[in-house]
Symmetry: C2
Subunit: 352 residues, 2 copies
């Protein structure tokens, strides 16, 4: 059963292919009667335009590629959803490319592998450097996400990680916490996110007149929640005094929660734990997780806005946009009002 083509419809309706095309596209100057006849033929034959053919001639594919490290990481799947929905609103479809953070896969994203396949690329790089991006990037419109490489030539969207981390610290300080740890720095970490968050953490302490204690910056073996839990366990065992933890992501926070539970320390009473990314993970932990919340919806719409502008011909230099962030407050930090009611003068010292 051959697919129905424009010519088939044209023949049945007794008009030219262009007229059929005009009807399909709702071109205004088509006589009502003809429009009816053509529409009837379309319905009768069940005609559907061949998008590939349309693309070849228009040069537009109506698709954008979304290149992210892992599709099943909660942050990225939640972000993907926002982007897919925002893209749909603008009549674009999304094809998802998983890089697993690997350098060669990230190179492939830029190397026009999608040549003529997508109109633009939204890319959350992890391993690749700014220089490589600038070098490899041809002319497919590109918007970068995250705290990784950000060459001046490309558009870029992120939240203000430094400010967010400082705010997270202030949030805990307001609740009387004084021994706030940062979890954590990963050995051989190639990502830039941690740096920014660590910087903001230190900045927050300094702003409050506190001296950052290097012993409170916990280092973690890898990016798993097991490793982060292990790091917290080890710190507590060493006798490090901690009454709050700012984590680089929700996974790490989940590990911290486990370690606290294992050590018999109550969260949030003994230690307050603060995650990052406001992913679904935070809804399932015990207690549930207070987490820095990037505005994923704003992230998505800003990325799409920049990208569509490029697709529509904008040729200026790279634009850098900061989107809002907030703090989703759940059970792993004391409620602010409770704190205000019973201000604590002394930092809580864990028993382990």
């Amino acid at each position: 059963m051959k697919r129905v083509r424009l010519v088939d419809v044209a023949e049945v309706a007794g008009v030219s292919t262009k007229t059929v095309s005009n009807v399909v596209h709702d071109y205004p100057h088509v006589a009502p009667e003809l429009r009816r006849r053509v529409q009837a033929a379309i319905d009768k034959l069940g005609y559907r335009p061949n998008l590939t053919a349309r693309r070849l001639v228009t040069g537009r594919t109506g698709m954008i590629a979304l290149a992210i490290p892992e599709i099943d990481h909660p942050y990225f799947s939640e972000l993907s959803r926002q982007i897919a929905e925002e893209a749909a609103r603008r009549n674009y479809r999304v094809i998802i490319e998983q890089t697993l953070g690997k350098l060669d896969a990230e190179h492939a994203v830029l190397e026009d592998r999608e040549a003529g396949l997508v109109d633009g690329i939204i890319f959350h790089p992890v391993s690749i450097g700014a220089l490589s991006i600038a070098k490899l990037h041809h002319d497919t419109p590109l918007v970068l996400l995250g705290e990784g490489a950000m060459p001046a030539t490309s558009d870029h969207v992120m939240i203000d990680n430094v400010a967010a981390a400082a705010e997270a610290v202030h949030f805990l300080l307001r609740q009387g916490r004084r021994r706030i740890a940062f979890l954590g720095v990963v050995e051989d970490d190639v990502t830039f996110s941690t740096d920014k968050r660590l910087l903001g953490y230190q900045q927050g302490l300094i702003e409050a007149g506190l001296d950052p204690d290097p012993g409170l910056v916990l280092s973690v073996k890898d990016f798993s929640s097991e490793a982060s839990g292990e790091a917290v366990r080890a710190a507590l065992e060493r006798g490090v005094s901690i009454d709050g933890i700012v984590c680089r992501d929700d996974k790490f926070a989940a590990g911290a929660l486990r370690a606290c539970a294992a050590a018999g320390i109550s969260v949030p009473d003994g230690i307050a734990v603060l995650g990052w990314d406001d992913t679904a993970i935070g809804k399932y932990t015990t207690p549930s997780l207070t987490s820095v919340a990037p505005d994923k919806s704003a992230l998505a719409s800003t990325a799409l806005e920049l990208l569509t502008e490029r697709i529509d011909g904008f040729r200026g230099v790279g634009r850098h946009r900061i989107v809002p962030h907030g703090l989703t407050i759940r059970g792993s930090t004391p409620s602010v009002s409770a704190e205000l009611a019973v201000p604590r003068g002394e930092p809580a010292v864990p028993s382990a």
Copy 2:
């Protein structure tokens, strides 16, 4: 800056476009010297084939659509990852379509909206019925996933939900649990998954010579973990005696865990909780979750296998494949060995 085309390369190399095409495709009968010359021209000009044009002539797009309810639901994002990786292995790209389980979106998936855009569709339906699928489905190769509609005409892949639920029940029975609840039946549930799992649950009890107690089939207001927790809380408050819960998915199980904790009942000592889908959620709950584990990798590879066969011309009737499932054992159920060591004769009765 115009894109480099085949003709541009041909001109530089001083050969026909077809020869360049042959080089690009590694066609064997090309003289080594010519191949070198053409390759040099390709490299020099930075030529990348225009996939859209190639598609128009070959009729193959190299893309498959994956239509799922929610991309950021852990089960679906994990499944998506498997499918994307399996597809990549077979040189297909995946475009993801989110239906949100809505009927009109599910209709759209089948209505050739992707006409000429994808070579095939992998579709996890929720709302649409078997009849509608049979009626709407044109000739784009299609493979269905899940327990929803499964018209005889379409290929279909799932796990044996009835058997898995029965096994889950037996697993708890072996540990001496006797008051096993099923969580839960959702009012106005349009999905078929619950039915199958409930059936298997009842079957498992009957096989063990137990009489299913209707009071142990908990009904839940919606699909959130809050609602499932509420259902468990209410049951416990009514004084229903429960020592084990088989849940229709991990989200429900997470809600159950919270309800137990709130009621002061230890999991797994007082109540054993068993989730479904083996999603990442189970790693973050307290305790971590024992969960029925569909073999997502087998699901993905089987779906791709059936789909590519159809794409490659197979025209037979719908094939139905059952893929394996297992049980990922974590903290929400007692370890089997401990149970064997200390067999319990009496069901544990929760204190609430």
